[in-house]
Every structure is written in structure tokens, then in C-alpha cells.
């Protein structure tokens, strides 16, 4: 176990093992996500209440789920950075933060567009959307802090602290926003909260969710590899890798 942990800390080992996983993540991710989306768009039955606009669910829910999970993962990586000083953990945070922010924007955007046919307005201060908006703020704070420090190690540890503080706050934020919502609005029709969802609807949704998680895994590993190359640029193995492969091999390993 300890040896495994120690090995995980070695960037070179990580670079190799990530390269082996990535094609699988990319392949299965694309397969599942596209299957879920095509199934959801074209074959899943129409919702009797919302009509076809509900088909946005097949991207809204995966992006919203993933955006929240990525933040959690970043906080876990933050704890690992602070406690064990494992380099790869902060490499992950750096690699994942922009992706998480973009996913949050996507969840917000799809939620807003979905709101138009459902509520007749682009934006509604619904608990879910408001929480997503705050999550976006948290992401932007992390990205801002990460870029403010010129020194990578400092940036990594500062971001780790912020991610952990943020994750402690997330349940409080969620609870407070929900409470605020009931205070200001009578319970309205909520997105994605459906008592009965037929299998023809939730199976493609599940596929889409799984697919996007796998795709995120690919993106995270690829970006982590880049970050590792940048940080370890002075080591012999990176120099040899770049001299030998000339970059083309590096690229093909990812895409």
C-alpha cells in the first residue's frame, strides 16, 4: 500500500500509467456519452408535462453532477496536497479546475435555457441554479488564486486550502440556499425532480452521466500529463521523451 502511494507520487510512473488508461477512458467515454445523448434525444419518450424540452436533461444533469463532483475531488486532492505533499494531487487540482468551471457554466446555461420553456423566463432564482451559480464563483476563486501566485508550489498549497474551505462550506451553502428559496418562493415546479421516471428516460441519462465522467477522466489525465511535463521539464526522462518523440508521439498518446 505504502509502495503504491509512493509510486503514485512519481511523475514518471504516473505519466506512463496515465497514457495506458487514456485510450480506454476516451473510447468508452465517447461511446457511452454519445449513446446516452442519441438515445435521449431521439428515442426516449416525450415527457407528458414538459414536452420535448426535458431532453436537455441528458446534458444538464451530467454536467451539473460532474461539476459538483470535480469540486469534491479537488478538495480531496487538496487534503492530500496539504497532508502528504503529494505532487500529483496538486497537479490534479490545476488540471481539473478550468474543466470544472466550464462544466459549471454548461450546467448553468442549460439550466437557464431549459427554464425558458418551462417557467417562461430565462433565469429563475431557483435553489438549484443559485447553488450552481455560487459553485461557479468558488471555481473562479480557485482559478484566480492559482494564477495569482507565480510560484507553483505556493499556488498549489494555497488553492488546496481554498478548495478544502470551500468544500466545508458547500453543504452550508446548499442548505442556506434551499432555506432561502422556501422563504421567498412558494414551492414551484423543480427541474429534475420527478417522482417517476420511466426506464426509457433514466437509462440514457445514466449512460450520459457515466460517459461524461469517463471523458472527464480522460481530460484530467491528459491535462495532468501536460502539467507533469511542464514541471518535470528539467528531469532527464522528460528531456529524453521530448527529444525522442519530438512531441508528435506525445500528442498521439492523448488524442
Amino acid at each position: 500500500m505504502w509502495q503504491f502511494f509512493h509510486k503514485l507520487g512519481s511523475p514518471k510512473w504516473f505519466y506512463g500509467i496515465a497514457g495506458r488508461f487514456m485510450p480506454w477512458l476516451l473510447g468508452f467515454g465517447l461511446l457511452l456519452a454519445l449513446a446516452g445523448i442519441v438515445w435521449g434525444l431521439a428515442f426516449a419518450p416525450r415527457d407528458y408535462l414538459q414536452g420535448n424540452s426535458y431532453r436537455i436533461i441528458f446534458i444538464h444533469v451530467p454536467t451539473a453532477f460532474l461539476a459538483q463532483s470535480v469540486y469534491m475531488m479537488m478538495a480531496v486532492a487538496g487534503v492530500i496536497t496539504l497532508v502528504w505533499k503529494m505532487k500529483l494531487a496538486d497537479v490534479f487540482v490545476r488540471a481539473a479546475a478550468p474543466v470544472g468551471a466550464i462544466l459549471t457554466v454548461l450546467a448553468l446555461f442549460t439550466g437557464a435555457v431549459w427554464g425558458k420553456p418551462t417557467w417562461g423566463t430565462w433565469w429563475i432564482w431557483d435553489a438549484r441554479l443559485t447553488s450552481m451559480l455560487i459553485l461557479l464563483f468558488l471555481y473562479l476563486g480557485i482559478i484566480g488564486l492559482a494564477h495569482a501566485y507565480s510560484d507553483e508550489k505556493t499556488a498549489a498549497r494555497a488553492v488546496a486550502v481554498l478548495a478544502v474551505v470551500g468544500v466545508v462550506n458547500i453543504p452550508i451553502i446548499k442548505y442556506s440556499v434551499e432555506w432561502w428559496n422556501t422563504l421567498h418562493q412558494p414551492a414551484t415546479f423543480k427541474l429534475t425532480e420527478k417522482p417517476t421516471m420511466v426506464p426509457e428516460m433514466w437509462v440514457p441519462l445514466l449512460l450520459a452521466v457515466l460517459g461524461t465522467y469517463l471523458l472527464f477522466g480522460w481530460a484530467a489525465l491528459y491535462r495532468m500529463q501536460t502539467e507533469v511535463l511542464r514541471r518535470e521539464r528539467r528531469t532527464r526522462w522528460v528531456k529524453e521523451l521530448i527529444a525522442a518523440g519530438g512531441g508528435s508521439q506525445l500528442k498521439s498518446r492523448g488524442a
Binding site: L41, F43, G51, R55, I59, T226, L229
Partner: protein, 86 residues
């Protein structure tokens, strides 16, 4: 297929614009993530190749100067001369 025809699929009972905008933006931003990631990788690799090329062609001039500690010699400029004249 939940739709009778392709045009019904596109229109989606009037909700077409909303659904297709969402999917469009989704694929756009996913492509953006991929493009950013690949661009970053290229930049890192290229800058590294450039550095290696520089090192191998023996341009470690700045390093040598740093090693010497600097002599603090004045650098002649035309501006200085014109100031001294006026």
C-alpha cells in the same frame, strides 16, 4: 424513435430551439476543453524543444554571465551623450 419524422425531430414540438441551443453549446464547450488541453500540451512540448535546441547549440551565454557575478560596467548610449552635451 420517439418522433414521426426527421422534421418533427428537429422541431421537437416547438422546443427545438432550446434543446438544440443547449446541445450546440454543450458540444462547443466540450470541444473548447479539448482544444485548450491540446494547445497547452503543444506549447509545453514546443517550448521544451526550443530550449533543448538552444542548449545544444551552446547558447548558455546568460548563465555564464550570471556565474561571473556581473561587472557593473556602464553601457554607452547615445541618450547619455546628448544629456551631457545639453
Amino acid at each position: 424513435m420517439a418522433f414521426d419524422s426527421f422534421s418533427a425531430f428537429v422541431v421537437m414540438g416547438g422546443h427545438g430551439p432550446y434543446v438544440w441551443t443547449c446541445y450546440g453549446v454543450f458540444f462547443l464547450l466540450v470541444a473548447l476543453i479539448a482544444w485548450l488541453s491540446i494547445r497547452d500540451r503543444r506549447q509545453v512540448v514546443r517550448s521544451q524543444q526550443r530550449e533543448q535546441a538552444m542548449v545544444s547549440s551552446g547558447q548558455a551565454d546568460t548563465a555564464r554571465r550570471a556565474r561571473a557575478g556581473g561587472g557593473f560596467q556602464r553601457i554607452p548610449t547615445t541618450q547619455n551623450e546628448s544629456i551631457s552635451k545639453s
